[in-house]
Symmetry: C2
Subunit: 693 residues, 2 copies
């Protein structure tokens, strides 16, 4: 509570934040002044009174986390970061929304110190915060000790969000879970300004939000006037005191407070304009001719707040040193986890292929075995499934109980049927640190979560997506469940790896790649149906994205310099490719090569020399994948897959493979067509083309 | 209430439905017996007592709509359809989940008479139902008349859904809106069986569902035992009586009722097995040795229910004839709308290009003008935006008010920030009939709705998606808002058209294509920033997907047989392609062709001859699009776009175009690189390849 008793100073602080935020938007001639001006008092109370943070150590592990879920209000956040002493200068504020600045148009965790997660797509931030609070609860349960280290990990997660975040279904999912888990240290300040872009909330949002959050098991309070700082402050204190339930504080605000357009949508997403901004400054007693003006008393006050956190941070460092001394195993493990370094030997006990003649299984089963082997070594692996644990093979033997109110040390999470929130919660756990999250559903239903998957990729979060039932091979559940375009959808997303392993070796390779890419999400695409063991498949070569499985080359064609045909394939179809190659080469004078391409994105990163060694000049390439052929034109002259504009069907998986032509006899016919088509023609490798970008 | 007073018969009916459903699953050796066995009493009351339907006229326009939102329970629905007399035979039931049967693994509206919407992806069906109830309310307001035609359009929409549907965020969004709109004729029966796939709902779903629905403004009731048919029946009657609020009836059921595994997840998704199924049959007094056995009393009873509906249907047809006589304009309009035929002259008043020198605008602005022109002629065009009406330019001048409780005849919908439900509600309106729905958000946020977009495509629903802010050109909002992979994500989806028009002419073409594709959803991708008018752009040729804009060919190269370089482009980059071609051809002896490719999916459907006339043998193709290059390998030897694995940035749009190389000088350099690379090489048109599928 401290120095903040001076009401006049508080008001000056709040008004400074309002004007500073509006100045950012005005200078950029772009942005959102309304929410910052309305919410400034909330940010003020949080940064001045409530939160524990150290601007010079923005990654201090026990800091309170702050998420601005209504990311468009980021001028507010940047203002607070600047004022409290983060490495965000006044010049940075003046570069708001400019190229390569520290102050982009929506907050980005990988750009700005003090920004925990990228927000802007509404609902993501609040859902991330649920993951952060989960992470805190879990890590506290695992690492805190009763002998003076009860609070080694002990922090709150604060959120500001607006109507938009609360309308999005993702937050309904996430907040239902937060209530179920009783995440008492999650505190959400709801900017209840009664305005959305289209107009008053009475156009589309008249539900009783407070009652809804009570139905989730949350602790709900109302603050009738955001400018009444002491009531706001009291409500936040009460929220902190409530440890068993997450808190929602519904705070009535006025969007664009101070502007002539306050309380209207007109002040949401455009600069105030010179005259209105001048008027605001006059109204709040500021010099209307000055911009980016910070009264020295305000500057000093916020600086002192940041300094207070520095002292707390130092104290915690001391506590952690003692902890490391007393609990060296746990201490060094936590240090390692925070640094994101994998433990020694984590890779040593991956399952081996059974002896020849061993029983084959589906790649989802192999995934389950590998996941468990990795999880045994890596306590940071925490995750679960969207109510498909058995089907996804994601249960963790090492954590037979699931994460619940009474078992927070457990590492397995039942997310319920909530794919979007599951992903965003994983993003939040990752952003918290010391956790490598994994999550699972049927591959096709990652479409429900795409908004959050994109944030994983953009925000450089190494989430592991275990996505089973990855083709028509899943059978009877039919077209609503059968991915056709999903592999391509994931292959075209920046900073994401889609790996579709063919057998146990490649499944191991997929996990190794995923674990080693701490800042890239990896989707592992796995089958429901059994696969064969592929001779020549390689666990290490998955990291290359693609590699030659085998050349079928009869002695009489030894003089040929390149294969007659290269067949590229992935996952469960690789075995068909191999059988097709065998048959083709047996019958004639062909040199047939089979290439496994489990991860096109990794393959694209290899040298041209390597890629040409796989797909050489002069050889036509045919691809085989039980999926749409859209993206295969990057590699194959003749893609074989599901015909354009065609969805799957409901029938037994084997029947569907036949129906769609995924049989060796049909593939042999198709391969012959390709060979004939290119016979005598000049064939350029598709690897060899001008690289313009 | 009728004959259904016979309790014994009712019980026999319900048990027959349970066993018949379990028989389907058993015969298929695949499927979900648990929910049908648990919910059979609900289906029985709805089909026997409550609902107004005519099996011989499954498309009767004033029928009550029924949605099985927990689509995996479809054996239940198929059983009811068979028993009541729809064109689903006992043989069809025996082909449950088999190739090309009428009884696929999840319900599909385009396959089975009596199935209103495709369900399976959880939450979609209930959200569709909100759209159906909206459609009913709207059409009733538009067409009903006070002189005996108060009930021309007057039906209920019934839903059965499970825990999964209620966990999904999409239903939170949709049900909040249903409450806001006061859709009193929507009645949802919640199969509260306390079981999800992972186990008891106490693992992940302990919120107070009833309170949540009350917070949305719903009328909520509880039925403590589904097998108490009279209390179930009473609750449904009470729900019908409540006209001002949608109704949720929380009904306690036992999953797999009758099975030895009843009440457990074990009975959810696998056949009961012969011995358990026999035991069930014995328990219910059926011959354990017989399958697909329907007692004649049951058969007769359900048949009579279906017949009752036939009489109602005939009566309605009579009413509608009178209506058409008295209100010929409205009558014929409604007939036309139900048939999905566009009105005469709908295309006549599309906006014309301004005279030379006229002001250019963004394609989103053109879209607004075209949408309004079409909407003026087509009253079936009903839709809105996910709280971005101004940014998306979707306001309808003809409907200045929005659809609300008191203005149900209005055609503009404020969906709030709810992209996923918006899409599913549009699917529901389309499924209802007589409405062509449109919806809008920023292109990148269609990712939030992908689960429902896929249902639009699979279920052949011609939704029009107006997606603005379609590239880095949107500027300062930054990478969270800038699509990079979204164009490809939409281009690879089966039965969907992605059209990215370059100017007003192509925007008109986009709408014409969209309106004419009644059974294919169309996404129109539109710019925030201004575009130029393109000489040679064509409104009609958008239907070809791609076409030649112009050949820049100096006299001295007239002897060349094909262009030196073809530049393909779309949308806002087409003008850059044109300027690049001009510069290149001015400087040398090149023949440069510019191709506009607004819709790759339509282009792919053209004859090889046509496609080769656009992209001829011998000419290298360079593409220019401010997006990822993933899919361009289908058309271009050298794609120019956003580099792989790169997201956008926050900066003014013009700055970003420069930063990412979308400037004429840079494109000229790149084009020269392409020309040099292919100089003297054999170049095959990418159109010309073996077609394997």
């Amino acid at each position: 509570m401290s120095a903040f008793k001076d009401e006049e100073l508080s008001k000056l602080c709040v008004d400074t934040v309002r004007i500073l935020s509006a100045d950012c938007v005005e200078k950029a001639n772009s942005g959102h002044p309304g929410a910052p001006m309305g919410c400034a008092p909330i940010a003020h109370v949080l940064f001045a009174e409530t939160m524990n943070y150290a601007p010079a150590s923005p990654k201090w592990f026990n800091r309170d986390r702050f998420v601005l879920s209504n990311g468009h209000a980021c001028a507010l956040l940047y203002s607070m970061l600047h004022l409290t002493g983060y490495d965000v200068t006044l010049d940075d504020l003046k570069l708001f929304r400019q190229l390569h600045s520290k102050t982009p148009g929506h907050p980005e965790n990988m750009v700005t110190p003090g920004v925990e997660v990228s927000t802007g797509p509404l609902g993501q931030g609040l859902s991330n915060a649920v993951g952060m609070a989960l992470a805190e609860r879990h890590l506290a349960a695992v690492y805190n000790k009763p002998d003076g280290f009860e609070s080694l990990i002990d922090h709150y997660t604060y959120v500001i969000c607006g109507d938009g975040c609360l309308q999005e279904g993702i937050t309904s999912e996430a907040c239902s879970l937060a209530g179920h888990w009783g995440l008492g240290k999650l505190i959400v300040c709801y900017d209840d300004n009664e305005i959305t872009i289209d107009g008053n909330t009475n156009l589309s949002f008249t539900e009783n939000v407070s009652m809804r959050y009570e139905s989730y098991g949350w602790h709900v309070q109302t603050v009738l006037d955001v400018n009444n700082l002491s009531s706001l402050s009291k409500a936040i204190e009460a929220a902190k005191a409530e440890q068993g339930r997450p808190s929602l504080i519904k705070i009535r605000t006025i969007i664009g407070f101070g502007s002539s357009k306050e309380g209207t949508g007109g002040v949401h997403g455009a600069p105030l304009g010179a005259s209105d901004l001048s008027a605001v400054k006059k109204k709040f007693g500021f010099d209307p001719l000055q911009s980016f003006n910070i009264p020295s008393s305000v500057s000093e006050f916020y600086h002192s707040c940041g300094q207070r956190g520095a002292a707390n941070c130092a104290q915690w460092d001391h506590l952690f040193s003692s902890y490391q001394a007393k609990y060296p195993k746990e201490g060094s493990e936590l240090v390692r986890r925070i640094a994101g370094i994998l433990p020694d030997g984590w890779i040593d006990n991956l399952p081996e292929n059974p002896a020849s003649g061993g029983k084959v299984a589906a790649t989802r089963n192999y995934s389950g075995a590998v996941l468990n082997a990795v999880a045994n070594h890596c306590p940071e692996l925490v995750g679960g499934s969207a109510d498909l644990s058995g089907s996804n093979c994601t249960f963790l033997d090492i954590s037979p109980k699931s994460f619940q109110k009474d078992t927070p040390d457990s590492r397995y999470i039942h997310f319920g049927v909530r794919e979007h929130a599951m992903t965003a919660i994983c993003n939040g756990m990752f952003a918290h640190g010391a956790i490598r999250p994994f999550c699972a559903t049927f591959l096709n239903f990652i479409g429900y979560a795409l908004g959050a998957v994109r944030v994983s990729a953009l925000s450089e979060m190494g989430i592991i997506f275990i996505m089973t039932h990855d083709s028509i091979g899943l059978g009877e559940d039919g077209p609503t469940h059968q991915p056709i375009e999903m592999l391509d959808t994931l292959r075209c997303m920046p900073n994401l790896l889609l790996i579709r392993p063919a057998d146990l070796s490649e499944t191991k390779g997929a996990y190794v790649v995923a674990m080693q890419h701490a800042h890239t999400p990896t989707v592992i695409s796995l089958s429901r149906q059994n696969t064969a063991f592929i001779q020549g498949s390689s666990y290490e070569k998955v990291a290359l994205g693609g590699y030659v499985i085998k050349d079928w080359k009869r002695p009489e064609v030894l003089e040929a310099s390149v294969p007659t045909l290269v067949i590229a394939s992935t996952g469960t179809e690789l075995t068909l490719a191999v059988q097709t190659a065998q048959l083709l080469s047996d019958g004639g004078s062909h040199w047939i090569r089979v290439v496994s391409l489990p991860c096109t994105q990794l393959f694209d990163r290899q040298s041209l020399e390597y890629r040409l060694s796989v797909f050489p000049e002069g050889s036509p390439v045919m691809s085989i994948e039980a999926s749409g052929t859209f993206g295969w034109s990057r590699y194959a002259h003749a893609p074989f897959g599901i015909k354009d504009n065609t969805f799957g069907l409901s029938a037994p998986g084997g029947t569907l493979y036949e129906h769609f032509g995924f049989t060796v006899p049909n593939l042999v016919v198709k391969a012959r067509e390709v060979i004939e088509f290119y016979d005598g023609k000049v064939v350029h490798s598709l690897m060899n083309k001008p690289c313009l970008v």
